[in-house]
Assembly symmetry: C2
Homo-oligomer: 350 residues x 2
DNA sequence: TTGTATGCGTTATCAA
DNA sequence: TTGATAACGCATACAA
């Protein structure tokens, strides 16, 4: 009899079934050369004993990979990253990989710590949304076969696959959309320059304006917005100034939420706006947005990583996913003259 | 010289450093009895070789646990579950556990398949939002020390820890709130009865009405709503009937989104509503909701699980987390007479 | 303070 | 078709 608190092993099953341990191994690996009645007997005693294969021990013997992917993002609660993980999982589940996840909270220390953890757990590949600024410590691991793909931000000091949505083109499209609707006074509410994606978006925005030969007053560029609250107050401040913009571009969804609230509070629904990032209620609120799909980002990242693990690719790739502008009304309002002849406070009744 | 594509092992480090493998092991485990200069030499050559500890191999030698928790939910992209995972991760990261995640897509087959995967990877504990209806297959593993906690729905055929928000009390509070504001004709829009949480919520709702001696016409109970779209059309249908409700309770956030859209379309903003589940724009839209925090649910679930693993608890517990009603306007509108003397279509101007 | 021998649960090799 | 034996990378027990 076996200790009931101990997990049964192949050896236990072998003993009970009266075969060698290797035969049990063959059965559980679907290897040939086991006679049907032995095969069945093994499965039966395994079932009886409540045997489970220890895949950690299995992956210790080298050629078999552990089939595990590690995913590191900044914030698991963020719906966009949650969607990305969901896309990753769709792929890994389909291709029989397990998923290890961790969050960095944008702390470089925690980032490295978690990646170290992944590596010590022998992951086959890593998907990372980086926050640190030096990834040289991954070089040796990559050389030894660990696949790595960076999402949304470039890697520094190493040359690896990268995938990102097209922040530049998306923001550019937003600005062009507002320009096409006659706006020339367009305010920008968003990220600080510290954030890579924020910079990309701001540059895209600016490139469209430059192309149209429009130079904006400095005050139209509000770039220290970190949450909906600061966005709201910054927007309110901007609207109070003498020559306010007739349109606003919010470079992320927290900023957009603040802008929408500010416009609401001031009954300033004549002011056009476009947001970056779609969100659940944007449709109902009639907010025009630059939409991009976290799920397909995750799907693509995982697909690329797993293809590399399958040896299907060897060159480094830098992939970009397109964005879509979804017009819902808020971005299509024409500029209203603000020269004082018209009452500036009149809200669009619908 | 070592094969550059092979991961260096403790033995490699030992050879290079001119010590025994055991000494290297001591260094990496912080064990005493290593002379400082040896300690340093080992660390140095390890660094030089790019050595990483293989924690899978380490956890093979029994007494040390693998320090891994598996989390299975239905949909990783759902913001509520994402928040829960985030709460779990907060705990596991703090207590030095890794996180394996998978989704079941509410498919019982995938549920068991993923839990089997967790167990074969020797997880110490499992947090599961179940969708299947028989969990007897976990019994042996629980008996052998794997900790398990079920979230939001009870386990069947096994006796394990359970944690859930108080669906019954939350829905009851919503109904009581509407009753307190004078409503007697309250419609219910939500889940099918197949879903445990849906049933709990409906019962809570009904208990409040029964207590107030109110019997609702059957048509007020709309329970086959699975997404925002079906909720919207069901709500529109309900409002078209001769004697429509003056208030609505949406038992989940997809249902709430549909209800809000329907009220918007019909300019029926005089109709009161309360939703279950808070969401990002509920505040801006002035929607009164029963709020509950996914993050703290995850935190509590993980804390309970890890405490059990630490041997701090042995009895089975069934925990319940409270909900909060957040009044934002939509739930505080008084009932409007619908006897035909007043124009039913008049919308509240604000 | 350090090292040797052995075992963890599995797979690989090679012989029977 | 089967089975003995030796790895895998590390930790435990015990000896030196």
């Amino acid at each position: 009899m076996i200790d009931p608190a101990r997990k049964p092993t192949m050896t236990d099953v072998a003993r009970e079934a009266g075969v060698s341990q290797k035969t049990v191994s063959r059965v559980f690996n679907g290897e040939p050369n086991v006679r049907p009645h032995i095969h069945e007997r093994v499965l039966h005693t395994a079932e009886e004993l409540g045997y489970r294969r220890n895949s950690l021990a299995a992956s210790l013997t080298s050629p078999t990979r552990g089939r595990t992917i590690g995913v590191l993002i900044e914030d698991l609660a963020d719906p966009f990253w949650a969607a990305m993980i969901s896309g990753v999982e769709e792929q890994t589940q389909a291709r029989n990989y397990s998923l290890l996840i961790a969050s960095s909270a944008e702390d470089p220390g925690r980032e490295q710590q978690n990646l170290d953890m992944f590596l010590s757990r022998q992951v086959d590949g890593i998907i990372v949304v980086p926050s640190s600024s030096d990834h040289a410590y991954l070089r040796a691991d990559i050389a030894r076969g660990t696949a790595v793909i960076f999402v949304d931000r470039p890697a520094t000091n190493i040359d690896v696959d990268t995938i990102s949505i097209d922040h530049f083109a998306g923001a550019r499209a937003a600005a062009q959309h507002l320009l096409a609707h006659g706006h020339t006074k367009i305010g920008y509410v968003g990220h600080t320059d510290q954030v890579f994606t924020g910079t990309q978006r701001r540059r895209g925005f600016e490139s469209a304006l430059e192309e149209a030969n429009i130079r904006l007053p400095k005050k139209y560029l509000v770039t220290n917005v970190t949450d909906a609250l600061s966005s709201e107050s910054a927007t309110l401040d901007l609207l109070k100034t003498p020559d306010p913009p007739t349109a606003l571009f919010a470079d992320n969804n927290r900023a957009a939420a603040g802008v929408v609230r500010a416009l609401n509070k001031r009954d300033a629904s004549h002011i056009a706006m476009v947001g970056f990032d779609d969100f659940e209620f944007a449709e109902m609120l009639g907010i025009t947005v630059i939409s991009h799909d976290g799920r397909s980002l995750g799907r693509s990242a995982a697909a690329r990583l797993l293809d590399r693990l399958d040896g299907q690719s060897h060159e480094i790739a830098h992939l970009t996913l397109p964005t879509t502008l979804i017009a819902r009304g808020s971005g299509e309002r024409p500029p209203e003259r603000t020269d004082g002849l018209l009452s500036a406070g009149v809200a669009d009744p619908r």
